[in-house]
Amino acid sequence: MDIILKASNLEKSYFNKKALNGLNLEVKKGRIVGILGPNGSGKTTFLKIAAGILTKTNGEILIDGHKPGVYTKSIVAYLPDKEYLFKWMKIKDAVNFFKDFYKDFDEEKCKKLLEFMNLDINSKVKTLSKGMAEKLYLTLVLSRKAKLYVLDEPLAGVDPTTREKILDAILDNYSEDSSIIITTHLVNDIERLFDDVAFISEGKVVLSGNAEELRNEKGLSIDQLYREVFK
């Protein structure tokens, strides 16, 4: 399958608002895609639907040709913007957990990444600072050989050194067989990693394309373009 994710006219309505209003997006294999937009634009909603923890109201979304379900959950590695591990766990429990439930989990890689991130495998999850927790969640997610990585604000709330490490880890993890979707506000730090970008506003994609081509066309950095689009 050349296209790992295809969303057509995707809609998600709540009682009082429409989070996604006809979102169209295609993600090809082996690409790193940035989904950019202000708070409330629908980024997180879209990611949650891709991860299978939120249901759509209308439209279609296919991951590797399948509707979100048990199969897609086995090939999608999701990094939410929440602290979602069990409070009683130590890092090694979390590692074992991922190992037990995901066939594509690489324990060796995980141990190496934990070292790289300076995380002690015996620490309790609840004692980790926000930055360390973010590093842990990312480590667990990247240690899977998933077809699609969905990272919701991986750089949020972390100091610059940690940010560096996270970007390095993401880059290092790149493979032609998998794709990565990243949402972020910190466009400037991460735009050199993007193949393609999609700007989301009010539940729709208002601009999308190849990052390099957009730079060429507009003579702007993606960060500057972001400010243009959302001023």
């Binding site: 082996g30 790193i32 560096e164 880059l171 400037n188 193949d195 390099e212 730079r215 060429n216 500057q224």
Partner: protein, 122 residues
Amino acid sequence: MGISFDQKIPIYIQIMHLVKRDIVIQKLKPGDKLPSVRDMASELKVNPNTLQRAYQELEREGITYTQRGMGTFVREDIDMIGELKREMAKEITDSFVEGMMNLGFTEKEILTVIEDKVKEEI
């Protein structure tokens, strides 16, 4: 954070520039193997696809050639290297002269400035 790129300009073009420069200053000699896409991407902290594009363009421009399974190499073409040198020099001088003329310098003044500067360096 690797090398700082001007993110207003396509990054692959800037990477190509880096490679061309390395060839001109002989950091990369004719026949030398360029670092692999992955290694270079990791070092520069950019998307490997961007690197790939840069390498493809370099090949298209006849500066490098790829041998399947072996890698990408600098063409053993002295003329090409000479041409590169001229091209890069032209970029610098064009930009310089334009900039100076925009500031209001005359031909004679520009030449004087250059002479003085070169004497200084030597």
